[in-house]
């Protein structure tokens, strides 16, 4: 104790203290953030999956993402993005990217399920990250009403309250969510693809994500009770419809009614 108090005026004491503080906060942060990562285990992937994935990666992805997925000028590093990010980006066809642009477009997938799985295994082996969600949260048996509230508060400002999609700045956009699988919706929430923010488990719990997916699937299954939904785009499509179809038909009738005379 005496030795410690004698050394407290040592020139390096301040540096040592700073180091200890940084270590402590960094360690705490690391613990806190891993809580958010949905079980970043690679247990479901075999070593051969990762090895095959590595080959696929080198052949198809490394041009932009760099050898070892360490990133390049053309694409970000994929160390630590997790299997969920790969499953979403490759599974929806967004990667490999069709063309350079503000945002990758959804297109028919370029890899089959097994290859996607192998790519995910490879990227997951590079560092811990969000993993592919388990079936339990994708059963679409959550509380749709709660999911609706979560959706309106967290998602509707970009994706539209009816999940019809919306515009973002400079050519970016939030896509419509009809026909998107529950798994991909979940993965998008935990990884924040393109311009989407990450909704980690501290932000929306897995239970909440299950509710959101339930809500989206339920409104999709409900269809449109009032007839054709005109794209569910709100007053703009309604206005266009009344001017073109509504007034158009009425003008046709007026011409018919007055065609016999003058």
């Amino acid at each position: 104790m005496k030795a410690l108090s004698q050394k407290r005026r040592h020139p390096l004491a301040a540096i040592a203290l700073l180091l200890m503080g940084l270590l402590l906060t960094g360690g705490l942060y690391a613990v806190a953030t891993t809580v958010n990562q949905a079980k970043a285990s690679t247990a479901e992937f075999s070593a051969s999956d990762a090895e095959q994935g590595g080959k696929l990666f080198a052949a198809n992805c490394a041009t932009c993402h760099g050898m070892g997925a360490s990133g390049s000028q053309a694409g970000p590093s994929l160390v630590g993005v997790g299997a969920a990010a790969v499953d979403f980006q490759v599974g929806t066809g967004r990667m490999p990217m069709q063309m350079n642009g503000p945002q990758a477009y959804k297109k028919p997938g370029q890899f089959n399920e097994q290859q996607t799985h192998q790519l995910a295994a490879y990227v997951a082996s590079l560092g811990p990250g969000p993993s592919i969600p388990e079936a339990g949260v994708l059963d679409e048996k959550g509380d749709a009403a709660k999911g609706g509230e979560l959706f309106r508060t967290n998602c509707a400002m970009c994706h539209n309250a009816a999940a019809a999609g919306g515009a973002l700045t400079r050519g970016k956009f939030a896509p419509a969510l009809a026909d998107v699988s529950g798994k991909h919706i979940y993965e998008a929430m935990v990884t924040g693809p393109q311009n989407m923010p990450v909704f980690n488990d501290a932000n929306i719990s897995p239970e909440g994500k299950r509710d959101v997916i339930t809500f989206l699937k339920q409104i999709e299954a409900n269809g449109s009770p009032g007839g054709a939904d005109l794209g569910a785009l709100g007053p703009v499509s309604e206005g266009l419809f009344v001017w073109i179809a509504g007034l158009g038909v009425i003008i046709a009738f007026t011409i018919w009614l007055t065609s016999r005379s003058s």
Partner: protein, 556 residues
């Protein structure tokens, strides 16, 4: 004596029971006189004259469907938990107004259909009012003696927008709440009185608990009553002024050529009501409008993408979207004596709408001042025969459409795969240059059409028959028009610029000089209709061509 006069036999005794009954009523209310007067009113027939009718019928349909909705709608902002049959909103906390709107949609028999009839009819109502107004403007039907009826029509347009907006807000869903929030912001941006007005309107801080019931009273009582009053005035003036007619043989400013109201026109108009009703019912039956269940209950925190007002408020929303927050280092917000003056809300929200309605209301007097035309006009102008007026109208319409398009800028961006920023930049540019381009193009097109009319009137129409003349030249034979068709092309008045006139003191004042300049601008480019002498010359000329003898005829 009294006994004798009491027993005096009536001049006419009906033979049938029905006859005696109608005679009884007629003697007391004078129905046959009214019927004789109105039944003989002559209305000219043209499809473009029917938009006012469409508006009237939509309004009747609005009254009928709206009455049905009031049976089930509860404009209370009290909190409740939804217990109806739409499961994605089960147990969600919401206002009674929203809950009852959902009940109308899902739990009242025929409720959703009636809601959709009401909303589609509302969109069609304002659209037909707008098209009617455009028709009146472009054909010059607002000229003497109809200036006041034009103003009544303008008031009706504003009332129709007010009726629409108050109704749009009633379901208290997320979309309408977002709309109200924008209105609240606009009101608050008005200097000095803004905040007080907002607090007065909402009964405290937005959103409060009073606004829905207040809007409801306005929507079902005050605004429809005012609309009815204005419709009565509007139709009264139509009867007083008689209907206008398009130019044609035998038509002038002292007659009306068409069918009498009874029986032909009454039958047509009555049938047309059911056509309009049918079209609206089909739209309501097959196409969703305002799916309030998608939007969820209003809560000031969430804002949905794609939040727009109904089309008739769109141009104001578009102007707000076009306004930049800052330009370089230039800010639009000032703090004056501790009060914030927010020009980037105030300017776009009030100035374009203010300009549009000011010009709209005063235009008949502006044109009257420029032309000094004090005559009554019952024969309409074909739009091409008033090139400057038509160009002004199209310029204004273009300006409106730029703002209108801006209200859908996000959907333009997503659906045409362009950047939202670029859409905004282009629309900002068009906001300033669009009207000028539209003016120039329209005026040139109108003048070109007039020249074409003149050409056809003078030389006849092209027959497509090619004739070879003896010396080898080929010409196309032109066939002369019949007189009815030719009248349409030459029977109009082409106003010339009116130079500055001295006033009663013999002085040309500055105002008069300005007027003369405007008159010059208005009428300097003009195509004079072919005169009878020219027609005669042209006609002879053609006979000569067909005879194929004169060298002069080769100048085709």
């Amino acid at each position: 004596m009294s006994a004798a006069s009491r027993a005096e036999a009536p001049a006419y005794v009906a033979t049938t029971k029905t006859g005696r009954f109608t005679d009884f009523v007629d003697e007391r209310v004078g129905g046959s006189g009214i019927l004789r007067e109105f039944g003989r009113k002559v209305f000219p027939d043209h499809w473009s004259f029917m938009f006012g009718e469409v508006a009237l019928y939509s309004f009747v349909i609005l009254l009928l469907s709206g009455t049905f909705l009031t049976f089930f709608f509860d404009p209370s902002m009290a909190e409740t938990h939804y217990a109806g049959s739409y499961t994605p909103l089960k147990n969600v906390e919401m206002s009674v107004a929203y809950s009852s709107s959902l009940d109308i949609s899902f739990d009242v028999r025929g409720g959703l259909f009636m809601r959709q009839v009401h909303h589609w009819a509302a969109l069609l109502f304002v659209a037909s009012v707008a098209v009617h107004m455009l028709r009146v403007f472009f054909t010059g039907a607002f000229r003497k003696p109809r200036e006041m009826n034009w103003v009544v029509g303008g008031v009706l347009l504003i009332l129709a927008m007010a009726a629409g907006f108050t109704g749009y807000s009633l379901p208290d869903d997320l979309l309408s709440g977002n709309g109200l929030r924008i209105i609240d912001g606009v009101i608050k941006s008005i200097p000095v009185i803004g905040t007080y007005t907002s607090f007065f309107l909402f009964g405290g801080e937005f959103p409060g608990t009073a606004i829905i019931s207040r809007l409801y009273t306005l929507h079902i009582l005050l605004v429809p009553a005012l609309i009815l009053l204005m419709i009565v005035l509007h139709l009264f003036m139509v009867v007083v002024h008689k209907h206008t007619q398009y130019p044609g043989p035998g038509r002038n400013d002292h007659n009306v050529v068409g069918y009498p109201l009874g029986p032909v026109y009454a039958a047509k108009a009555g049938g047309f009501f059911f056509i309009v009703f049918g079209v609206i019912a089909l739209m309501a039956g097959f196409f969703t409008i305002n799916p309030i269940w998608n939007y969820g209950p209003y809560d000031p925190s969430p804002v949905s993408a794609g939040t727009q007002p109904d089309w008739y408020i769109g141009f104001v929303d578009g102007a707000l979207r076009l306004m930049p927050g800052v330009i370089g280092n230039f800010h639009f917000e000032y703090i004056i004596f501790g009060h914030v003056l927010t020009l980037n809300v105030l300017l776009p929200a009030l100035v374009p709408a203010g300009i549009i309605f000011t010009v709209l209301f005063t235009y008949p007097w502006i044109e009257r001042w420029i032309t000094k035309d004090n005559r009554e006009h019952h024969v309409l102008d074909r739009p091409r025969n008033a090139p400057t007026r038509t160009a002004i109208g199209v310029a204004g319409f273009t300006w409106y459409c730029v703002m209108w398009a801006a209200a859908g800028s996000d959907l333009i961006a997503t659906h045409f795969h362009v950047a939202l920023n670029d859409v905004t930049y282009w629309l900002r540019a068009l906001f300033f240059v669009g009207p000028f381009i539209a003016f120039a193009v329209t005026k040139r097109v109108a003048l070109a059409l007039q020249r074409k009319d003149r050409e056809i009137a003078l030389h006849g129409r092209e027959t497509g028959r090619i004739v070879r003349l003896p010396h080898g030249e080929f010409i196309e034979v032109h066939a002369p028009l019949d007189e009815y068709k030719r009248f349409k092309l030459v029977g109009f008045e082409s106003l010339a610029p009116l130079p500055a006139q001295p006033n009663e003191h013999g002085v040309v004042d500055r105002k008069e000089k300005r007027r003369a300049k405007l008159s010059q601008w208005f009428f300097e480019d003009r195509v004079v209709p072919a005169t009878p002498a020219e027609l005669e010359a042209g006609h002879g000329h053609h006979e000569a061509v067909e005879a194929g003898e004169s060298q002069k005829t080769l100048s085709h």
